[in-house]
């Protein structure tokens, strides 16, 4: 039965239900319970965003493991444990912290299956929060999924809401390859209808969020709701937008995007990541290569600028793509004349 759950609750429920179903699922990370070795309350935080609150109460310290601040050690341990019979879900508190443990992700976990001739299985999930808008500035706000998407051997999930989040995280835990699961921190408090029972959403299947015939908007994570807002504004102006949420960047469902662009002839890609070598550039390039004849306007990219995320609210609000910027790009694509 569906009821309203926030994205935060959806993550917690997906973890809880899968831990009940599969005793080999463990969680590890910094302060994911909180209070370990301290004189006060245990389960003090449930992670810095409260995502894993309550899980240690049900599953105990053996399966909900607070770690020292040692990302290389515990991300690497999650990877090693995944090759040895567990299905660990590690929490890398902010994706920005990949800088202190990336080797264990991209040189170790990502390579095992191929490098060992297909004989290794590494069912590890690394959950991590991303995204600007929290006034957390340069080292706690980035959207680094393009870096991970670049690397063969990693699957990358960028859910845009609570319903997808639960289904995709359950799928991620059951997947036999390393999955990086990106949670946009500005989505944590957004609620949606979420079924109580477990379900999975396959990777590499885009969600057509809104059907339309004039312009295709592809958007990821938090940008999906911005794209929908833009589409509603544009509908009043008589521009009928299709909004596609790829849901996973690796694997990427290009077919759904191509099918849409072949109908609309116009593409706007919205990506909160920096503009060079991001998903917007990648998708625009692939569409240009494979559906050039269908395009009636150049693909447009609406992205963050090529700067670190600024602190000042006035600057950060300019940094993040907005529904207005998306609407402008759509209008320009619509009005384009060769």
């Amino acid at each position: 039965m569906a009821r309203k759950l926030t994205f935060r609750q959806a993550v917690n429920e997906a973890l809880r239900q899968e831990m009940r179903r599969d005793p080999t699922v463990i969680l590890l990370g910094e302060d994911i319970a909180g209070g370990k070795g301290s004189p006060g309350e245990q389960d003090a935080w449930g992670g810095d965003m409260g995502i894993t609150k309550g899980l240690i109460g049900e599953f105990g310290e053996r399966r909900v493991i607070d770690t020292p601040i040692s990302e290389s050690a515990f991300i690497g341990a999650a990877v090693g444990a995944a090759t040895s019979g567990l299905r660990p879900v590690a929490e890398l508190m902010f994706v920005d912290f990949m800088g202190v443990c990336f080797d264990q992700i991209f040189n170790q976990a990502a390579k095992f299956r191929y490098m060992f001739g297909g004989k290794a299985k590494t069912p590890v999930v690394i959950r991590t929060q991303m995204g600007a808008g929290y006034r957390a500035a340069a080292q706690h706000s980035q959207c680094l999924y393009p870096l991970f998407t670049h690397i063969p051997g990693l699957k990358c999930v960028v859910p845009s809401g609570a319903y997808d989040c639960k289904g995709l995280l359950t799928q991620a835990i059951r997947d036999d390859d390393p999955v990086i699961f990106f949670e946009h921190k500005l989505l944590y408090d957004v609620a949606e209808d979420v079924p109580e029972e477990q379900y999975t959403i396959p990777f590499g299947e885009a969600n057509v969020v809104r059907e339309g015939n004039d312009v295709t908007i592809v958007a990821l994570a938090r940008m999906v709701s911005f794209a929908k807002t833009a589409a509603e504004t544009l509908a009043k102006e008589g521009i009928d937008c299709e909004v596609i949420d790829p849901r996973t960047t690796s694997p990427l469902d290009l077919d759904t995007i191509l099918e849409s662009v072949r109908r609309t002839g116009r593409l706007v890609v919205v990506d909160e990541a920096h503009p060079r070598c991001n998903m917007a550039a990648d998708i625009a390039a692939q569409v240009a290569e494979q559906a050039f004849g269908a395009l009636r306007a150049p693909p447009r990219m609406v992205t963050a600028p090529h700067t670190p995320v600024p602190f000042s609210p006035s600057l950060e609000d300019l940094f993040v793509p907005s529904p207005e910027k998306i609407a402008t790009a759509v209008r320009e694509a619509r009005a384009y004349k060769a």
């Binding site: 341990a77 444990a81 001739g117 051997g153």
Partner: protein, 322 residues
């Protein structure tokens, strides 16, 4: 710790196999037919074999770029290894790993590792799995003196100690990180001096003495299996070849390797000790020498004649093909 006859024969066979394998790879590499980079383990055999003789297939090890010895000691298929070094389709990793990434998870060999310090976090993970699942198994991570200075290694030692993981940190100190002397690069002199900082026992052993390594490892592994947490073992070893094949070794003292081979060789020492004590007969060891020689010959011949991977193999073992 008593070692029975069968184990002694096994130990000698493995040490001898590593030696002949590496001496032969040294020759084969010089022909130009073997691709890539190889880092030879000759001289350090007593370390890998002394440790791994205490392990079963279900115990895990993580290795280094100098991984052939650990593979053989852990029971990896020798012809399969030679195929892999030659990049052949039927190699241990299908020709996709090569010397620096050779692995066989079915033998508990989690991989050579071309990233210095890459292994310790992974070994902590294997140990975490053993602890969580209650299997009684252990993990051993082999790291060099160079890798002993990596942050991943420090993090892993603290992590393992805090969580009381069944893991043994074996530091094979061969005196050189590439060209850089460990007497300079390890600030505290001996690596074993770091053990107290991580609240774990530390022992230093002569890596030319199989029996010393075996005993230290046996105690550390028993301690890990009993749930008493990690141990650090520093094994003082020497490598007979360069950092990699092709290394001019100008940084070593003149005559250093010849002297080591003459005075400290672990195989000679082993043979002397077991024959003088009447534990094994020289004839038995000679027979092993002949067997090993034939095995390595066969492995090289088979590898040279074996097919290379083809375009059809390029895109297998991936989850999605772009």
């Amino acid at each position: 710790m008593q070692i029975n006859r069968t184990e002694l024969l096994e130990a000698y066979r493995k040490m001898r196999t590593i030696r002949v394998f590496e001496e032969r790879v040294h020759e084969e590499f010089a022909t130009g037919q073997m691709p890539g980079f190889v880092h030879l383990y000759a001289g350090e055999e007593a370390s890998a074999v002394g440790v791994c003789l205490n392990l079963s297939d279900d115990d895990k090890i993580c290795s280094t770029h100098r991984g052939h010895g650990h593979c053989i000691a852990k029971g990896c298929d020798v012809p399969g290894m030679m195929l892999e070094l030659y990049g052949r389709r039927d190699g241990l990793c299908g020709g996709k790993g090569g010397s620096m990434h050779i692995a066989d998870l079915s033998k508990g060999m989690m991989g050579a590792n071309a990233i210095v310090g890459g292994g310790p976090p992974l070994a902590c993970g294997a140990a975490l799995a053993a602890k969580t699942l209650g299997t009684g198994k252990v993990a051993v991570t082999f790291t060099g003196d160079g890798g002993s200075n990596q942050g991943t290694t420090f993090e892993s030692m603290n992590f393992a100690s805090v969580l009381k993981l069944p893991v043994v940190f074996v530091f094979e100190n061969n005196g050189y990180a590439e060209t850089t002397g460990s007497s300079w690069s390890v600030a505290c002199g001996d690596i074993v001096n770091r053990a107290p900082a991580f609240a774990m026992p530390g022992v230093m052993v002569d890596g030319h003495d199989f029996f010393a390594v075996h005993e230290a490892a046996s105690e550390a592994i028993a301690r890990a299996r009993a749930g008493e947490g990690p141990t650090l073992i520093e094994v003082k070893v020497d490598r007979y070849f360069g950092h990699h094949e092709g290394d001019s070794e100008k940084y070593r003292a003149p005559g250093e390797v010849a002297k080591l081979r003459a005075e400290k060789d672990c195989l000679k020492r082993f043979r002397k000790r077991v024959t003088e004590a009447g534990l094994l007969q020289a004839g038995e060891l000679d027979a092993i020498d002949r067997d090993v020689g034939a095995l390595i010959d066969r492995s090289v011949k088979a590898a040279l004649a074996a097919p290379m991977p083809t375009a059809a193999d390029l895109m297998t073992d991936v989850y999605i093909s772009y």
